[in-house]
């Protein structure tokens, strides 16, 4: 990883540090405090929380990257390591760049694991200071974290007024808590000031203007997606808890409680069902959409597998459904707290028999918000399941993104649903006849009108909705479904394409890889390798996707899975020659960083040259 050596030494608003800790010790609030403080100083920042699939006592890390130019992808090399977990010292110290700093608890002597003459040690007797300053054991554990936060404030030049403000907002009410936290912050801050030369060569400076975060918010994708679902008018949600999607439904419940309670009656304008499992969750979603409500479920890989049968029912019986898959590392239970883009193919072709589905690929919380109404509109318009493929990195990490806006003129596209008036006016309703140009037929809701009654079934049916075992009648319907799916290509979000004068290479990616790939492209450009960028945002693929592919002889597809699933989907579903598409894959479970792209592309380019010779 070359940036290690090329790391500039004196840098303002351009560095990265990492906090190694043990989970269940409340480090989250300390880390969040720092992250938020930097953000409030107007400095672009991103935080990646690498936590274990466990509740208490295992290693956990929090990585914070500060970058004035707005690059927020993960970086694997750090200028400063806050090593609070002796168990992982050895691993953590390896990740420090030459000349980096190690902040550790000097209450005990540093283990011999620390064998790097090329780094600076910053020892603070945190545990000791805690024992001296706080009584209760739990307090001592919690305040240790706040204390290193104080030290970081000094070392990185974080604005103390901002920190005090944040503490005030958080604990203003609880005086004792306020006092305790303030005391801890000060203890850490002063100790650093006294013992170390502050600030460090890399540090913060309040920012205004172009890249500043003044007009941004700090939000995770699950929260943003939940917001989007509420704004889209979703009234029924059914789910079964599973990491990393759980926080999405928690947020949805929270927003509904705040904005969906009927003022007069205090009753709910929503119904959230914690199902007994994912098979039931998707069943509830089908039932609710079939009845005309906007309903969705959120889950992760294992849940998608369990929903397979009913997804096929929804596809064939043409029932709308929105399914959010916050992807985690598979296969099987895999690594529940690690990220991956491993469900692309499973979702595209979910369920036995001939099936094809609509997929949306948000890249960040902002798109999580905007793609939620899009997903419901598509599901209603095309009367079919729509998958929103987020992932753990997007869904659970705090991302800096522009303030969300809502177009108050938006009205749900409910698609072709016949009203009571329309029904009584018509001679006879037949569920799967009267297809429009997109292959969509009109549907009816229960209870609306006697003429609207029909029998929904996952068994063979003809265009009248009647049971059939006759080949032609069966084919007529499934052929229309093929056409319908194709038609959706015009309606899914167009790809994000960014070109560069003189570029011949194309780099294609999806979802949360966005930041890392775009930074990677800048780094490659600095090294004279020019590439155009396309981020696919929906499936079926629109014409411009194929166009971009055709326009480039050599294309690198960057994605976070082992089997090049996006590449496979592109090969299956476009006319492009497979040979042109090369893969850059990162699937170890951590968010993508630019060097994956740079290294991957350069390695293959040199190879090709080799081949060319």
């Amino acid at each position: 990883m070359e940036h290690l050596d090329t790391a500039k030494v004196d840098r303002v608003n351009d560095f990265a540090f990492k906090i190694a800790n043990t989970n269940g010790t409340g480090s989250a609030s300390a880390n969040g405090l720092i992250m938020q403080a930097i953000f409030r100083m107007g400095v672009p920042v991103s935080g990646k929380n690498l936590f274990p699939s466990n509740i208490q006592g295992l290693p956990t890390w929090y990585e914070i990257r500060v970058n004035g130019d707005g690059h927020t992808a993960r970086t694997p090399v750090y200028d400063l390591m806050v090593a609070m977990n002796a168990e992982t010292y050895a691993r953590d110290i390896k990740e420090l760049r030459q000349g980096g700093y190690l902040l550790h608890d000097s209450t005990w002597p540093l283990s011999d694991a620390v064998q790097r003459p090329d780094i600076h040690l910053l020892g603070i007797p945190l545990a000791k200071m805690c024992r001296e300053n706080f009584e209760k054991p739990r307090e001592q554990v919690l305040m240790k974290n706040i204390m290193y936060a104080g030290a970081l404030a000094a070392l990185l030049d974080i604005d103390m007024k901002v920190i005090d403000g944040l503490l005030e907002e958080k604990y203003g009410a609880k005086k004792s808590m306020m006092a305790m936290n303030h005391k801890a912050i000060q203890l850490g801050y002063r100790h650093a000031k006294q013992h170390f030369q502050c600030p460090l060569p890399f540090h913060l400076k309040t920012m205004d203007g172009s890249h500043s975060t003044r007009d941004s918010i700090l939000i995770d994708g699950n929260t943003a997606l939940a917001l989007g679902c509420m704004f889209a008018g979703a009234t029924v949600a059914a789910w079964y808890p599973i990491t990393p999607s759980t926080s999405l439904m928690d947020a949805f419940r929270g927003f509904c409680a705040a904005h969906r309670r009927d003022p007069e009656t205090g009753k709910n304008n929503f119904c959230i069902l914690q199902a007994e499992d994912e098979l039931a969750a998707i069943g509830m979603v089908l039932g609710a959409n079939w009845s005309g409500a906007r309903a969705f479920t959120s889950t992760s890989g294992p849940g998608i597998s369990l929903m397979g049968e009913l997804i096929g029912l929804a596809y064939y019986a043409e029932i709308p459904a929105v399914i959010v898959d916050v992807q985690r590392t598979g296969p099987s239970t895999g690594m529940p707290t690690r990220t991956q883009q491993g469900d692309i193919l499973t979702c595209a072709y979910a369920s036995h028999g001939d099936t094809k589905h609509i997929l949306l690929f948000p890249a960040n919380p902002e798109e999580c918000f905007t793609m939620a109404p899009k997903a419901f509109d598509l599901a209603d318009r095309f009367q079919t399941p729509v998958f929103v493929l987020s992932d753990l990195d997007i869904g659970m990490n705090d991302w800096m993104c522009p303030r969300l806006k809502w177009d108050d003129t938006y009205r749900p596209d409910k698609g072709r649903v016949l009203s009571s008036a329309e029904l009584s006016a018509m001679e006879r309703f037949q569920r799967y006849s009267d297809s429009d140009a997109d292959g969509v037929t009109s549907r009816t809701l229960p209870g609306v009108h006697p003429k609207g009654a029909y029998f929904t079934r996952g068994s063979g049916h003809n265009k009248f909705g009647k049971y059939t075992e006759i080949p032609d009648e069966y084919q007529e319907v499934v052929d229309r479904l093929t056409h319908k799916h194709k038609s959706a290509a015009k309606h899914v979000p167009a790809p994000d394409i960014r070109t560069m004068p003189g570029a011949t290479i194309g780099i294609v990616t999806v979802g949360g890889c966005d930041q890392g790939v775009r930074e990677g492209i800048e780094l490659l450009a600095e090294q004279g390798i020019k590439a155009n960028f396309m981020r696919v945002r929906g499936f079926p693929f629109g014409g411009n996707v194929e166009e971009f592919l055709r326009a480039h002889e050599t294309i690198y597809v960057v994605e976070q899975n082992r089997d090049a699933q996006l590449r496979t989907l592109l090969v299956n579903e476009t006319g492009i020659d497979k040979a042109r598409l090369r893969s850059v894959l990162a699937y170890g479970g951590f968010p993508l960083s630019a060097h994956h792209v740079v290294d991957g592309v350069k390695r293959q380019l040199t190879q090709q040259m080799g081949e060319a010779l």
Binding site: T235, I282, G283, S291, G292, P446, G447, A453, T456
Partner: protein, 351 residues
Amino acid sequence: MTFIPKPRVVHPGLPKNKLGLTVRDYEGAMSTLCAGCGHDSVTAGIIQAFHELDTEPHRVVKLSGIGCSSKTPTYFVNAAHGFNSAHGRMPSIATGANAANRGLTYIGISGDGDSLSIGLGQLCHAIRRNLNMLYVIENNGVYGLTKGQFSASADVGTKSKKGEANAYGPIDPAILALSLGATFVARSFSGDKQQLVPLLKAGLRHKGFALIDVISPCVTFNDHEGSTKSYKYTRDRNVEISHADFVPLAAEITAEVHPGGATAVTMHDGSTVRFTKVAEGYDPRSRDKAMAYLMDHQKSGQVPTGLLFVDETAPEMHEIAGTIEQPLNQVPFEKLCPGNKALADLQEAFR
């Protein structure tokens, strides 16, 4: 199944209900089940029940899983939306449909395979939610549509058509439901319309989850000598331990009261369920007693039928969830979307 629409012969003589509809108006497509299948009798009972309840046909939602029994919603109330879903998944789909629109009448038809094997988990949790619907299990002890394998309701020792005896203990839907806190539990026999129809009516009017386990013999695979789900066996062992009449709201009460014990239960809509016959010491309002009685008789090989237990007071799913009265699928978008101003405000929390 080809659907030969039944000629709608007009029978001027047929009695009309309050909506001016005759029983024919509650019929469906022609059945494609085997001649003599118990399920067809249940269908007939359902048609009569809806007619007598003056139900608006298109306000009914009929759902099912997969199986011969699950085909039957096609055979009643043509003007109602139907959903023949997937094997064992009807409870969850009914839950979602009801969540979206609490204003309709929901009836689910299932089989012993659909409900007690693949669908057992969903059935139990629908009971737990006290989902407001009538859930009918057409129980024949076998998987009819897949040609006669034993189901989980097959009794120990019952013989298959080939003569093999079943060795696994049965799951009794009524006992199971009671143990899970079901609020309406009944058992009947497809061959006893007198008993079945009032139970269906009461179940349809019950607030919450009404389970009716209907012994409904499979003439093709499980009606032979040695079967404990045959017409003959069921007729011989069937003991009605509590006969319920359904008395619609404001109708004059005529049925004579039986001596002692339970007499009547008032449904949430004001109609009453009237017990004209209850076994000595049996009280269909006591879960414990009902359970004790059933477990006791399970051994005896008797088949206790009737309205076994009813509790009209427990909250149903929407009451538990605190949902508004208005069906969620009809709430105007304006009420659902907080709008851009609210969005701007709430984002202060994300600074």
